[in-house]
Assembly symmetry: C2
Homo-oligomer: 379 residues x 2
């Protein structure tokens, strides 16, 4: 059925040197024999997510990137600003594989029943090193895709879908009934629109451009606020009054947006209140920052009382919190709705060497909405 | 034993007009007969706490304050900046009594056993309108003081002591074992030093001046970091490594301090870690902002991973969370240690008319460490 795997194969590597140089390269690595509960996956699709960029690019200044080596084995080097280098001491001089997730075909399997059951199947995988031609991985890290699903269709089964579902679960677990999302025209944002429509959850989408507003409305979003509009704060406040949203997930992180959301939530909370509360509304207002599209400092004026919180949010600790059973429930939903709710769109599909071209790096490093890269390590 | 209360008495009032004027005045109000479970307290001491200033001064610009009226009945007016006025619509044109807490003697009591038991006693009170010559109040809002305690000694039984104890309880309830406090030379900060010494809790004190450092060390504080020192961040990081503190209570709110604390906590958390975690340390780092000594915007660079939170903290919701029994336990501790752990120091004692002099307002509005006002409404 499946051809014999080669003895060695390509793997994308990222290395940060103590002197402040980032080096990206393709290594020839041995293709291992799977252990008892492992399978060997020929990776055919792996997305470049914002959450991959930290490990991949090591905070390097992309303006300084240079390519050497051959066309088949390019080597990219770039400089890391000294003040950002300090935080990376623990990864100095290690050549690290990259890629949180992907999908491909199981070409070899260990002797366990779980492993054997996956042989020949198309699976999505999570757990790192997905920018590799072959990935040997434990069976619990595989999600078998429904028949007729291609690796490209299943490549983004974990990070974006589980993050979007995690936002909705977090909203429920913390006692809120509606939510706000920023950078809402992203792949993740579109998934969230579909989840919320399906589950009947009021969602306020914040976008940065008028055409993103149209895109979201075309897939059924009802509350879309454009932060580039002069009436943004009024629009947002109205949407918050309408939906009662008191929790937000912010992909931008920097600048004033998180604080503006809290301010608008406070105005919305007070709008129906007649009594003056000197310490502000007693409604708890929460913003979770889960991305850093805007790397500038976060800034806010504390004009939203005392019942508020801004904090970091990350998928992994969320999954730990809901446990194995909770995680399985979410994964099954993703697999069964992978072509609808959780469909991803890619603007570019590249090989491993193409992923290390300056042209590609400049685009995916910029994280602009509408440009999303898929690596096919076996193309 | 106690003289007959008068028919009317003075009460300090604060009014914000829709046109943006703050007016402070002394009203003649009727002295009520206590209901069944109420007592009438002749207030002899009431502190001006930072938490009173919002209601008292209504965000007015103190530079614009003017006094008219007579020496016995001064009337202060000041302008409120238009952008701050909007949030106060719910209090427009209402003449509101002020003063969260105080202490005095029970001069009349309702027929309930609880009320009768308080007659003639010196009690601390909470619940507003303490800047009044007489305050009629429900018995659960009274804390009987140990024999030999004066109203001045018992005037600050609630806000500062319960806030300091609330910080320690919050630390424990949220799974931390040591804490950080800013503006640590304040009355509240000194109480916290004493509580932590007594309870064996490691405490990192952040102060803004070298003489404040000396003051805290003189009462037994071991970790004191001066934020005006060039080595502040290194000093703070070392103290965090030593104590393992991962929760901070910040009285300043504005500027960069909250973020600096999180940054130092992250460096401390990573110092003993050998493995590189691309998303930062997994140790949850918490800053609660409970004051606003620095009214400027809060600003931080997100260089402390994803396991962090900055939020508001307020005594009232904390007390609601721990319930009646928890609250009683804390109050009893305050009463029994009112002359030691919870002793307050006042730089100025004023009458009600004196509290409305420009000289006094300029000092207490500035909230400078070392200047704390006590109003004696019956002096």
């Amino acid at each position: 059925m499946t051809s014999q795997p080669p003895e060695t194969a390509l793997q994308l590597r990222s290395k940060v040197s103590q002197d402040g140089t980032l080096e990206l390269s393709l290594a020839d690595v041995e293709v291992p024999q799977p252990g008892a509960d492992e399978v060997l996956v020929r990776v055919e699709a792996a997305p470049i997510n914002p959450s991959d960029l930290g490990l991949l690019l090591g905070m390097a200044d992309i303006q300084t990137a240079k390519v050497s080596g051959s066309k088949e084995r390019p080597v990219v080097t770039a400089k890391i600003p000294p003040k950002l280098l300090k935080g990376m001491a623990a990864r100095f001089d290690q050549s690290l594989p990259v890629g949180n997730e992907g999908a491909g075909v199981v070409v070899a399997a260990g002797e366990s029943d779980a492993a054997q059951a996956l042989l020949g199947k198309t699976v999505a995988i999570i757990g790192g090193a997905s920018y590799s031609q072959y990935r040997c991985i434990k069976t619990p890290m595989c999600l078998p895709l429904p028949d007729g699903t291609t690796p490209r269709e299943g490549a983004s089964c974990f990070v974006n879908p589980l993050t979007a579902l995690g936002m909705v679960e977090t909203m429920r677990n913390e006692g809120h009934t509606a939510l706000v999302h920023t950078a809402a025209a992203s792949n993740l944002g579109q998934m969230l629109v579909k989840i919320c429509l399906k589950d009947g959850i009021p969602l306020v989408n914040i976008v940065r451009k008028p055409d993103q507003q149209k895109l979201l409305e075309s897939i059924g979003a009802t509350h879309v606020c454009d932060s580039s509009s002069e009436s943004f704060l009024d629009d947002l406040t109205r949407a918050l009054v309408d939906t009662g949203a008191t929790i937000a997930f912010d992909a931008t992180g920097g600048g004033k947006l998180a604080g503006q959301i809290l301010t608008a939530m406070e105005i919305a909370a007070n709008r129906n209140s007649t009594e003056y509360n000197r310490y502000g509304s007693t409604v708890h207002k929460q913003v979770y920052i889960y991305g850093s599209l805007d790397r500038s400092p976060t800034q806010f004026t504390r004009n939203f009382g005392t019942a508020w919180s801004i904090g970091g949010w990350l998928l992994t600790p969320f999954l730990q919190k809901i446990g194995h059973e909770g995680g399985q429930r979410l994964r099954q939903r993703v697999a069964s709705e992978i072509k609808t709710t959780f469909a991803s769109h890619y603007s570019d599909e590249v090989s491993l060497p193409e992923a290390l071209s300056l042209e590609a790096i400049n685009v995916y490093a910029a994280q602009s909405t509408g440009r999303k890269f898929l690596i096919n390590p076996n193309s």
